[in-house]
């Protein structure tokens, strides 16, 4: 199944960077972000691949890399019980990527959560606004440069709390 995936995808999208990796627990592909919608559409609709379930979608931030922000998709094929992980990375000055809400209705809130935490803009999303944090929060908290604790709190001593 892994070779089928790489075969079909390479045939369709062989212009863009495409690395397949089998070292972690499931088959992982890293794709460049302009083609991500096409790749996921192919994985969902191609009858040989048939990944009809989006398990989860999350963001990630590697501040030292050239493309620091990333989005990770986990897809699942129920019939053959196969899972695949797709990663894309985005530049930090313009983290825009196309949405997959038209393919999977479940991606709606998952993308809002990723926007809330990392500031990744999903083009074409019907309702991209903050979902879990307060609306007036002006930074994206899960990025590595921001601390966990509320910097304005005065009742806890950072020598004992805060790590």
């Amino acid at each position: 199944m892994d070779s089928e995936i790489t075969g079909i995808l390479k045939a369709k999208f062989d212009l863009d960077i495409f690395e397949a990796d089998n070292t972690s627990d499931m088959f992982t592909i890293t794709v460049s972000y302009p083609v991500i919608h096409g790749v996921i559409k192919e994985l969902k609709e191609n009858p040989q691949l048939n990944f009809m379930f989006l398990t989860t979608l999350c963001g990630i931030h590697y501040p030292d890399r050239e493309l620091p922000l990333g989005v990770v998709y986990h897809l699942h094929n129920f019939h053959e019980n196969k899972r695949v992980r797709i990663k894309t990375f985005l530049p930090s000055d313009d983290p825009t990527i196309s949405t997959v809400t038209d393919l999977f209705a479940t991606a709606n809130w998952m993308e809002r959560e990723t926007y809330d935490f990392y500031g990744i803009i999903f083009e074409g999303h019907p309702n991209l606004k903050r979902i879990l944090n307060v609306e007036y929060l002006d930074y994206f908290p899960m990025r590595k440069e921001f601390p966990l604790e509320d910097p304005t709190r005065e009742d806890k001593d950072d020598r004992f709390f805060g790590r």
């Binding site: 972690s24 627990d25 499931m26 992982t28 009809m52 379930f53 989006l54 398990t55 989860t56 999350c58 990630i60 990770v72 986990h74 129920f78 019980n81 899972r83 992980r85 999977f104 209705a105 479940t106 709606n108 809130w109 998952m110 959560e113 935490f117 903050r130 979902i131 879990l132 944090n133 307060v134 908290p141 899960m142 966990l148 790590r163």
Partner: protein, 391 residues
Amino acid sequence: MSEEKTYTTLNLGPIHPATHGIFQNVLTIDGEKIVNTEQTIGYIHRAFEKIAERRPYYQIATLTDRLNYCSAPINNIGWQMTVEKLLGIKTNKKIDYMRIILMELARITDHLICNSVIGVDSGALTGFVYVFQERERVYEIYEEVCGARLTTNMGRIGGFERDFTSTAIRKIKEFLERMPKVLREFEKLLLRNRIFMDRTMGVGPISAEKAINYGFTGPNIRAAGVDFDIRVMNPYSSYDDFQFELPLGTNGDTYDRFCVRQEEIWQSLKLIRNALDNLPEGKHFMEVPAFCLPPKEYVYSKMEALIWHFKIVMGEIEVPQGEVYHSVEGANGELGFYLISDGGRTPYRLHFRRPCFIYYQALPEMIRGGVLSDAILTMSSMNVIAGELDG
């Protein structure tokens, strides 16, 4: 001549007796029919994923307790299995069977809350009181195993901190004796009750294709007819040694969800009985010196034990680099843990795939065209737990 339609806006929540947990629904109603709803969540956002980046691996188990707090052992054991998958530890059968017993007990408690609360929301308060008595007995079992009632922090990475005592086994056996009678009494109250059936049949339906598209998992998708259960599809913790049935519904409405959860309680009782009868001999923890505190007599006599004890307590255990996704069948669906470790003492990134968060977004789809009381019942039958919703 066309009439201008004026809609009423009704605010349901965040504090409302019928929403179990704090989330807000702003309903747009045309007379009595619901036209649209807009949801606001995040009223209990505790930033679990950010906290997890700053805590050593065994402290994250206390965080996972608070995700779906009605069935905390499932979350704990799921997290421990994720870390064991990263480290490449394979647990022996005894640990697996003990885990199955505790996870199925947790599933029973969660389904009991959900079903009795569906009863409360439709006006039947008696079932709730009877069923909570049985939950107290499960709490007694938890106290015997790990010392806490609700937020259990049960087990350790690599097994358990202590074996089941004879009191625990006796209490589990007594629970298994008592539970069928109480459950049958509860069923007689609601399952074939004409009023309950009229209130819940056809309420909040969802089709199987839409359910897959919306990412439903757990009893909600089984009520829609799709037989997706992680215990069967990707078996973990020796679930494939046991035979159990998956109840399936037909049209995914509230009555189907109620019946699916009820039948799952019976299947869980069967699983616990099988696991307890066939509980093998063996050690209750694997040899993972980095995560299991060594016995005290070794700490005072052997050098390595002293060093491991110090490192564990001061939080200086480093975990090898790796990336893993593991999921367990929580009471609400596929509870997944996506863990990326960069070789340090704390995870680099930990993402929880929370089932409640994912299927709650389908609520507007399910209640459109219904009336307000149907919306209340649909919400409570979906079993939305606020801790898991916001995380």
